[in-house]
Amino acid sequence: MDESILKSIAVLYAEDDDYIRMMITRFLKRRVAKVLEAANGKEGLNLYLSNKDDINLVITDIQMPGMNGMAMIDEILKLNETQPIIITTAYGDEYVANDKVCRNIIKPIDNDELIEAIMSCLGYVLFRHGVRIKEEGG
């Protein structure tokens, strides 16, 4: 799949660490159409609710103050059970990826691995559910 497909997608990104969020957001913004930033699960869920039709992919940290990533994922999957979700966690052994979650990326995040994961998740969804990615402006 061509990376240019990313140019048309919107990503919801939740991460409580300001520095990490800034860096990943910068990385994503160069590649995707739109990045919606959230500092915790509650913010993330609210953004998801108001932009449900636009968001193609959710990337979230697990350990966050207030509503954590797992709780947010549960709520999002209730709204859309086919929503592709990537989680970034500090501990591969401690948080076994939920089977509804597309991919678990262990920190420190490798940008190539992240891109690969995004592509794979979007492709999986396209293949499995035939979900059409909305054409920007089309």
């Binding site: 660490d17 520095y19 990385f27 160069r30 920190k107 995040i109 490798d110 940008n111």
Partner: protein, 838 residues
Amino acid sequence: MTIDTSDKNIFPGYKPYADLTELNQHRDLLDTVGKAALERIARSYLDLLETSTTIYEVDGSYATALFSSGYCKLLDSASRELCNTSDNAEAIACGKWLCHESRWTNASKITIETGVPYDLRPCNGGLNIYAAPIKAFGRIVGSINCGYGQPPSDDKTINELSEKYNVDKAKLREMAQEYKERPEYIIEAIKRNILLSADLIGDIYERNKLASELSVKEEQLHTAFEFSTIGIAITSPEKGWVTVNEKICNMMGYTRQELSQMTWSEITHPDDLKSDVTQFNRVLAGEINGYSLDKRFIRKDGSVIFTTLWVNCKRKDDGNIKYCVALIQDITGRRKIEEEREQFHKFFNSSDDLMVIADPNGAFKSINPACMKVLGYSEEELLSKPFIDFVHLDDRQSTLDEMVRQIQRGYSLDFENRYICKNGSFRYLSWHASYIASEGITYATARDVTDFKMLEADLTKTNTERIWLEEQNKTILSTSIDGFLKVDPSGHLLYANEAFCNMTGYTQEELLQMGIQGLEASESPEEINSSLNKTMEAGGDRFETKHRCKDGRIIDVEVSVNYSKKDDLLFAFIRDITARKRMEDEINTINRNLQKRVEEEVAKNRVKDQLMYEQSRYLSMGELLMNISHHWRQPLCGVALSIQDIKDAYLYNELDAHYLEKNVKLAMSELKTLSGIIDTFRNFYVYDKGQKEFNIAAEINRATTLISEAAKEKRIVIDKELDEALTVRGYPTDFAHAILDVLTNAMDNFGKKDATGAIIKIRLFKEASKNIIKILDNGGGIPDDIINKVFDPYFTTKDKSRGTGMGLYTTKVTIEQKMAGTISATNIDGWCELRIEL
């Protein structure tokens, strides 16, 4: 209505009505001043005027009403009729009783409201009314009034009045004409008289009120006086009983009448008289106003009572004593108890027998000095541990058995055991004890029977010796299993028994040819001679040596020798101890081997302990790494992203010097954080150089910093309330480690996963000069069956992968051995609480 007895005007048409003062509910003036007094005062001016007068209570009730003139009486009774009711109260209320209206509503009521006299001219009946308020204690308590002036005589007024009052004109005119006019100066004098009367009534009112209040107070005082449980007396300066209460009579056994004829010095115990009189004389001399002392009185029946006495005097203006007040409390009962207690103490303290009171735990509660004297310990030493610890080892079981019997029977009699004294010797004690089951307390006395026991033993010994001497004959000696020799001072054998022959292999004949020099295997002949001399000087000896047998064997022997001065002979018993010696040697060898094995085992254990310690160190290192990794994860991720971002920016053509500068700055800042974390951890593991005074809160904070990230990860809230001012002397890092161990242990209680709702509370405060640290977690508490084991080494409730078992043990060692504090664990309402006291 009071009918004027001097009334000459009981005329036809006059209708008397009931006495208005009967309606008086207020009854203040009426009862306080008195009806008779009020009437007498009223009559003093009314007799001069011959009209009518009224005295009202402050609420308008009638206290007195007098009518002297026929004119007033006629109109009053006529207007009463106008009310058309038989009820006086209704009549007063209806407003048609014109004369009442004139007296009260239009005159006296006004004076009560204004507080000043009022002159009503004219009244409804054409006369005038002068009214004045009655004052007492600065307030108005009533009003007094009186009619005066000439009744009207003109036809017009008579007509109007007869119509108004519904009376016969002719009668009215007749009554009006009958009244003889008083000159003006009389009227003015009477007005002054009315004012004077109001003052007089007020004065009487005040005086009577005060008198009645005083009598109430007096009655209360009297009651207090009479019913007091303490004796109270008023006494004269001459020491006489002036007034006494019932209690004093009961105490002394005399009647009031009898006491009033006596002085207190007469019934004071002679031994206490001087001290009392001395004090009393000081009161008389004005040096003091009162005193208190314990003294005895002799009762009428001759018995003695103990009292505590308080005396205080009331002086006259010239300083001399008016009277004295004496309070006397009977303390005979208390004295008796005190005396009994004192006697008991004397008995307890001076007894040569040991006396003890023992509690249900088997420790002495109380002991008398004889215990210290006999056993040589201090009181603290004897009270510090169970008494069984002082009992001779061989007697402990029998003592414990006796205690059981004692509890069953309730007593012990002549039970003997040995107590170990402080100097290591022991004493035989013969016990008598009573056990009080309801209190679980034992009261016991013991007699030191050691001397008796020794005498008994000596007697037995003397007896034995006598028998031995009597029966010392060859038969016995020959059958003895010990060898026996009779030796002269030069060492020649004069007799040897069969046992000795058997022992050495020589015949008796052979032996009699030999000296002990020939037998002795370990001493030279010179040494033997010198030993013989020494033995004879000392009268005897006991020693071990070696003898040579006929076949050349050397045997070990134990020799007990006595020198008989009388016979100038030595008698020796010889026992073959070769077998015993060999056994002793073997035992020594075994012991040596045992010692070696023990040492080996100890060494092995040391190695094992070392391994355990190493293991525990690895595990704490594991904990440490885990904590570091929690702290490191996020900054590390940040640095990684920064580096990748530089590459990314380059690819996207965004990289310039400024961009690079910004990213490097951010990455360096993250790296500094990482470096700082390493410092924090490294400092945490630097060993203490020695004891020092340190801030407790700072060390607790150091420990919590380390686990903060891990706690955040697990969503465990750490809630601290620390008194930042508290310090203690000790090892700060060891202390911080101990706290870290407790915190790690508490965190582990919440399990591996997300523990939302988990709280660890840390409290530091001062309580009764101790620093208290409480660490609580709501991880479910510790099951009761293991709560006592949590501080044991190698004890863990966690699975192998986590539990070291050393954590709380090392904490306990640090707190209790290094810091001389205490640590304990309890469950409180689902919280597990670790309490450290320093």
